[in-house]
């Protein structure tokens, strides 16, 4: 219970910081809307509905992935500013609770963007999914968690690096390839109705469990690294 209370303490603090600054969400919203509008202008989704269905899953996750990267860097920048990170290093509370609180906060921020993006995406790409839409209730959180759990970890890993903004995508994207493949295929399966997404969802779930466990176990070492 104490551990969960500490996770909640970090989560609540991150939500409060974001509510007051709106740094992460504003940046992500602008970026994802830009990607959505630019791609909608690049080809005519109403003229090629099949092509639009086949591409939209990939487009959605490209936008979310790049947008999430900006939020992940912002979330650790708050800890680096004023050397707050040293206060966490000196703290008696478990380091992994800080990681989990921050990852959950990032999950909420990206989920807010997904909620805002869903109607825009549907209208711009004239989407009428042919598969079972209910699977998206699993695919979206699992895919988002895959991005934020690794992203939160690798953003922390790059904190002492001078090129941390470049380093995060360079490390995060290759490691996230299995999750990206799974989430894009599962989303495309739902939108086109050509295949069932369950296999990809199972793969996503496995990826999430493995990487969440590894990140929680390794985070204390990353936090206390000199």
């Amino acid at each position: 219970m104490t551990y969960l209370r500490t996770v909640w303490l970090h989560l609540r603090k991150d939500l409060r910081l974001e509510w007051r600054s709106r740094d992460a969400i504003a940046g992500m919203l602008f970026f994802t809307l830009l990607v959505t509008v630019v791609f909608a202008m690049a080809f005519d989704p109403t003229g090629f509905p099949t092509l639009a269905r086949q591409m939209s899953g990939g487009l959605l996750w490209v936008g979310l992935l790049f947008a999430a990267t900006t939020a992940l860097n912002t979330s650790w920048e708050r800890e680096r500013r004023n050397q707050v990170l040293d206060a966490h290093r000196m703290s008696a509370s478990p380091a992994s609770a800080l990681f989990l609180g921050k990852a959950l906060a990032n999950l909420i921020f990206v989920s807010v963007i997904e909620l805002a993006l869903a109607p825009v995406f549907t209208v711009f790409y004239n989407l009428h999914p042919l598969g079972e839409v209910r699977w998206l209730l699993l695919i979206l959180p699992l895919g988002t968690w895959a991005i934020v759990v690794n992203g939160t970890f690798f953003a922390a890993l790059g904190l002492s690096s001078r090129n941390r903004e470049l380093m995060l995508p360079a490390v995060l994207f290759p490691i996230s390839i299995p999750a990206l493949l799974g989430v894009v295929q599962a989303t495309t399966g739902v939108i086109t109705g050509d295949f069932e997404p369950q296999l990809w969802i199972r793969m996503l779930l496995g990826f999430d469990v493995i990487f969440t466990t590894a990140c929680i176990l390794l985070f204390p070492t990353v936090l206390h690294a000199e």
Binding site: T2, Y3, R5, T6, L9, K13, R16, L17, R20, S21, R78, R81, N82, Q83, V84, D86, A87, H88, R89, M90, S91, A92, S93, P94, E226
Partner: protein, 231 residues
Amino acid sequence: MPTTPVPAPAVQVRIASKLYGSFAALKRVSCSFAAGGFHVLLGPNGAGKSTLLRVIAGLITPSAGTVTTLGGSPHNQRDRIAYMSHSPMLYDELSAMENLRYFSRLQHPGATCDCAGSPEMALRAVGLDPTLTRPVSQFSQGMRQRVSMARALVGDPELLLLDEPFSNMDSAGARELVQLLLDFRTWPLSGAAGGLTVIVTTHQYELVSDVADSVVEMRAGSVVTPRAAAA
């Protein structure tokens, strides 16, 4: 004839070195700081004061030598040590009370109340109003230093480590801070029998010369003179 038992030092550093590549930030440093005292680490910029303080805090590990803090490894004493750097270590967007509540609960994760050194009490102790709701980013440098001091005290530490607390302060503000530090030596909530042990790094000796129990002078990563202060 009975002899008075000598209290164990709060901090004991033995032949500690810290290397960054080929650069030695600390060179075979040995010193000790008595429990319950007000100690000063003196030296110019680049002398290794901050590095030594971070080693004592357990924030960095020495490349060689040993450090004993409060009778054990500094890594195992995190709930008994408070560290304050020249940065305030606060969240700019939060108010002073919000910052203090957050750090207080982090320092005492199992506590169900703020009773062990309440944030209100710590803020009042540094002369600030706990009802101030504006974010600390709107505070003056002196007020931020005071909040930072309250953040350090709210964990009810036995050892208080302060890295250049007087930097960016005018002389009047710095003297007020010294007076506050002296008051905190008898911080009523401290569990330490001899009271709070304070170690301050500074290059402004004139600020602390009258009040220091001991002074360790450093230069180029080495201890030059461990000596009793004039006071």
